[in-house]
Symmetry: D2
Subunit: 473 residues, 4 copies
């Protein structure tokens, strides 16, 4: 998929490291594929919290000057794809507040399904909201909890929210890592042996690729329904909710996570190759070349190639020098947006029957342009293979899928989609094939609601939280 | 006074103008002497509120692009001197929140004396705070009020807070302007006849100089204890508190307000000249020249000159091209910081007996450097005359005076101060003289606590609101 | 005069100081009234030259980081008002070149009258030009000189150019300061006793106000036709041209120089006050107040007041917070541009007969707006007094006067101008009065060509150097 | 190769297009792999030239505002890797000058070997140089030519320079494209049918990938020794030098050019795959996986895989979110710099015998870190295969190779290099194998001096042009 999904995030936490904010920043650098338009870090020196968050890429936001103003041995960080407009900076994370439990900072990956409901209730009781983020709801619940210790209050709050939440939280002397009972989003724990002033550094990150850069060793995942607290008295874990069937987001394996990460206990690269192999078994086609849509289609294309024994080739080259806004000539160039990012290698494609492997088709418009680009480069046939089932339903757990009306597979048959994108054939991976490729089984069960429309939570929001100002008193 | 006081602010509000945010921005431009390090505007198009706030000067923050994203016929704005560090952006105003009364934006000039007390109580009840600003307290009180209409809820909240507050507030369709019952800070109301789509534009500003640039006509001051609401149903006024003796901040006349403003019903320039005249009567001295410390000592020096019949001359030239951070050579230049801003005209000063007129002496260090600069330029005698009484006590009503320990007049006799700053003589205006110069009387009574240590509010905070993170749970 | 003249510059040079580039930068800071839109510094560590120049204000351009990359004990600097468009950065100074005389950097205040002629000849011989600045011509002449030593080559070049030039120049180990034989523009020499590693620091600056900030003592002016060279062998001086009658720019006293500078051996403040006094003698009028147009009319207004015994008052307040581009509302505010910068004090002006003192009237449009502003504020009469004669002719020596067609005094009688600007009376200072005020005599004779149309150089350019690309081969 | 070579450039020219500067900018966007630290465009509207150049990435430099100030139907552009320090902006291209041939702008890819010699002679004759770029030499020679027409003068100049030069040049109404007689660097010509106001748009670019984005069709290469001129009278071509044996830079196929470009008439991707295949034939090894060092080793690795029938896998993931300066923790992370860019996929590598394919080894330090990274990820064996011969000699024709002392292959045997980088085996492609892979033959002969130390030009510079200021007069 050439375009980014918009609402994902990456979180990071560091306990007991002399350069905690630098470690958090380096971790965020590795997590930018999950959201690269705003980033923030909150650190603590044991006395107070320090925050910096801004729009932009991680490496631009965190200069040496900025990091020097984020002192202390504890830090949490967040990176996200920000929606446009005035709410962008407002909604950047972490959120830092003062309340009767002291200073708290929190960063959230996921989406709550009952945030509107709770927010309405809290507003009715006189609470004020300064963002449109569902994360603010969590902080209110913690502050209002009647429990006497912070860990108890947090658990109390967590029991009131439903949906997807992989959270990192920080007080002046403790780091918390929390995963919702269904375990929608990944959250891993790592360790830098003797990394800090008082022994091992403990770190948490959305994906294990964040550990590699900072020299941390993966230890285990935070478990569904678990809260891990690292503080002066050491590390302790407790489960705030009864065990439920896991609903790990299968789309992390299909698209979101980096191939060098291990999520839900399984290397992403392994899943993707298996998807490609399975796809080749399910939907073979006579052809000359297997060509990925870079970068997201590469691993599945390699799997398809090794199963089909058809040669894998980079027939489309990706240009990584893309600025934020790009000026298009008034005298229109056809498919300009796609051409900015991709260019075909004619010498490879000309006269060939090409199997084009991509991870998803969302609206279909980009796929249509890519197929046209490959044909224009001289390909004789273009066969599109997608490494997951048709996306028919929106996600309510943290992926910014368009509404049903915009999802092409929700409105057209596969043959109609093929006709729209202009390929000679089109096939999707079966749901069963995808499950197998991701090794569903005892260890992990997946949420596949975007492919089935069947949602694991009882409650599904009719609408997302309304923009702040639309509501009228 | 060469250095800026730090905690003052300017506020602005606009109702019924097609370019409300531009009008607010222009008003803020005129109010920058009250705080020039951050600024913000919130606008409303009747449906929702739009916000932009940032660090920096008004003209740099509000580009055409930014203003185009602040649509609608209503706007409020705020400019302030921001304290350094991470809290700076956090505490920028206006504050915009969502609550059971709908969307509210608020901007505040002044300081509450019971904010800590209320905040502790609110936190105890489970409220969360995202800034260290006392203004956030007001919003919580409004949200938690049991009153059923917003105006009632606002009045309810206002009755719970004590101290100095000139507020502008906005909902999606109404603008509020409010002044505390003692009327510490100024707040004026103006009108652009037929300025907007539905008749007259109504504007509010901290000082009347903001009206001149946007073509508004001064109408009246918002009265102490009054709340003026301008909305779809027209303009109405109500008093939320019983009448009290006014405590208008006399320092607005001495230093803060622009000389082209009319505050508390009296032209500032008139007061300042009268101070200078009175000072000449009280503390004459044989000399050749009256020289102001620019820019704040100019008007009083003119008054002193006209009363004493001694010639007024600009013996010190002010350099207005000062960037935020200025690089000092390692090989130190004596009194470098003052020299960056001021330069003496030797030809005027050499061999002369000079009366140097300034508005205040705070710590005494800057005065000492200026006296030395004038002597080094050849002056035979330097007589310092200050257009107000010795500043002996901190202000709790919105002026960031240093603590008693740092106020030279709180710790030294006038003769000791004279000795410290190195002048041949030193005299301050008497408190009675200052009252007369500012026309205290039936119309206006002043707060002079910084000169007397006698405070008009029952309650004086032992400390300001603690920095967010110092508190430990 | 409220608007800036555009083509002036300030130059600065430093020899033998451990922080030479910082000293140059501080000097430029003081010279920004001569041009504040671009600035540059070249330094030398004895081995090579280092350059930094950019658009913007001095304090923004020279950060600590930038200064750290300008090492060495020698430096020259330049600040200027840059013309708009693509040529701006191209034409920023100093110019640094490599040639058969080694590395040379040069910075120029003034304007050559035979630059076009020389440039055409040089181009004919195969020279290339990379700027549109006349300064580049000088460098070519130095490089092409057949003289064997650099000082000889420089003198050779200087004898070929005509017009106004106050130059500072630098090689890797020498600083040069040069003034044209007629001495149009000022250039002063100062000294910081034992300021550098090898004894005294020698500095040169367009105005003496630059010396005050860096602790340098004014020593003497560079003389017309003199070249002062400071290098390893000490300081030496030579005259490159026969003595001529001096043509010091009288407009430096009227407007350009800072009042705290001594130019052409005379304190600017003294001249300006004398202009005001003389003006009061020549053109008295019955009135209540003398009000300056700030800041440039202040000194003359003080002189007028002291001669006429009419009270001086600041009836117009200047707003110094002006950003580069200011957004004007679409719904036009009358005289918006002037209102941004000036605001009247109504309480002072209402009902009064006001004498408004300014230094010049160029096009008349701004004066017209200011007169209207003073009347709108309630003045009963407005009498305009200008502290120099009518400006009727353009300057070819470094002041960017508009062409005759745009100079109101070149096209209208005084009565017509009075009618245009809407004042009750209008008077200019006489040329003779101006000469007296500036103490013309044995010591100094002035160029007054902008008031007379009589030019001291034989040659007057028919047009300025053409923009680079208009010429067609 | 993970690190960038530093001195390459990309050039672009556009004739007859309504948005010529936008087309140039889009072309430069595609050429940024040849140098991404500064960029410039000069346009012409037939009357004059307009220039903008700056440090930074193409998409950041050319905003809509900037492009609107580059009007006209002609444009040339340049993008380059800038060397650090003060010379960076100075040396940015295009260079624009005014001379007796009119306005000329020029952009250069390559390096002259006799620039120092010519520059010394020109300086001796009185020429001045404002950059340290050898390109400025060319402009001087054109200006000084006695020929009467510009095309003749250009040919005259070109006959005096030796080395590598692919040039685009522009006057107010003509575009020139020129290639040195040995044809070191590529330069292609394309066409947008009916793209401009007067028929076809003609474009030139360093690589054909620039044509694809703007909808231009590749027509032919500019030939070695050819000058193509496109002007009002149409397109004409002439050869300014006698035919010589071509010395096309073979490193363009090995590393520089994009795989989707056709250079020297041959698709780059085809060459690279052939290199990989040939390498597999020459240096097979028993192993489990072929893994490229991304991105530059990918095509050769695919070739190696398809020849060896060993599976190709992305065992190293490249992080493309790299900011300009990256903050390293003080508590050092081993091989931090490489880890920022690359991360291994452990699940793929663990227990495997890995063939690591890269395009070059320069200093050896990066290769050493990558080998270590692959071993740390669990690989059992690491066999390094390089798709060209050992780099033993610096390039004088436009590639910024380090000096012999820094080239590991110039100082160590292959076995010593293997030992240094820590691999189990190491093999380079043979020179003969490389020639075959690049299809050397009648059509193209290559310069291979970096692998042989045998240079095609008679003259080799003993040193590059000296930094401007080292020279002492």
């Amino acid at each position: 998929m050439l375009d980014k999904f918009k609402d994902e995030c990456g979180v990071m936490a560091v306990h007991n490291h002399r350069e905690a904010s630098t470690m958090a920043y380096l971790g965020l650098h590795q997590l930018q594929h999950r959201g690269q338009e705003s980033a923030g870090v909150v650190s603590s020196n044991g006395e107070r919290l320090y925050m910096h968050k801004a729009m932009g890429q991680v490496a631009d936001i965190f200069t040496e000057d900025v990091l020097s103003k984020l002192p202390g041995n504890l830090a949490i960080g967040h990176t996200r794809y920000s929606t446009a407009g005035d709410s962008a900076v407002l909604n950047a994370q972490p959120i830092m507040v003062d309340c009767n439990k002291g200073m708290i900072a929190i960063a959230h990956n996921g989406n709550l399904v009952n945030a509107n409901e709770i927010r309405s209730r809290l507003e009715g009781q006189g609470s004020i909201f300064q963002t449109t983020s569902d994360t603010e709801v969590i902080v209110h619940l913690i502050a209002q909890s009647k429990e006497h210790t912070l860990p108890e209050a947090v658990c109390d709050a967590l029991r009131r929210i439903e949906g997807a939440f992989s959270l990192v939280m920080m007080t002046r002397d403790r780091v918390f890592a929390i995963r919702d009972p269904r375990g929608f989003r990944p959250l891993s724990m790592g360790r830098i042996p003797n990394g800090g002033p008082s022994g091992d550094t403990v770190v948490f990150a959305s994906e294990t690729c964040a550990f590699d850069l900072i020299g941390a060793v993966y230890e285990r995942d935070v478990k569904p329904g678990e809260m891990v607290v690292v503080g002066p008295e050491g590390t302790f874990s407790r489960f705030f909710a009864a065990e439920m069937k896991q609903s790990a987001c299968i789309f992390e394996h299909v698209y979101f996570s980096r191939p060098d990460s291990v999520v839900f206990g399984r290397p992403v690269q392994t899943s993707r190759e298996a998807m490609g192999r399975q796809l080749a078994k399910e939907s073979p086609v006579e052809a000359d070349l297997v060509v990925p849509v870079p970068d997201s289609g590469v691993a599945a294309a390699l799997g398809y190639s090794s199963e089909s024994l058809l040669p894998f080739r980079f027939g489309l080259i990706r240009n990584h020098y893309i600025g934020r806004t790009f000026i298009e000539p008034e005298q229109r160039v056809r498919d300009f947006g796609v051409k900015l990012k991709l260019n075909p290698i004619r010498s490879l494609l000309v006269g060939k029957r090409v199997i084009l492997v991509d991870d998803s088709i969302v609206r279909g418009t980009t796929s249509r342009k890519i197929v046209r680009m490959v044909r224009d480069a001289g390909a004789k046939e273009v066969h599109v293979r997608i490494s997951c089932p048709p996306t028919i339903s929106p996600c309510y757990y943290g992926v910014d899928t368009p509404s049903k009306g915009q999802l092409i597979a929700s409105n057209k048959s596969i043959e109609e989609i093929r006709d729209y994108i202009g390929s000679d054939s089109l096939a999707y991976l079966s749901l069963e094939g995808l499950r197998v490729a991701c090794a569903e089984g005892e260890k992990t069960t997946y949420c596949t609601s975007c492919y089935t429309g069947v949602y694991p939570t009882e409650f599904i929001p009719l609408d997302q939280i309304q923009p702040m100002a639309v509501k009228k008193p």
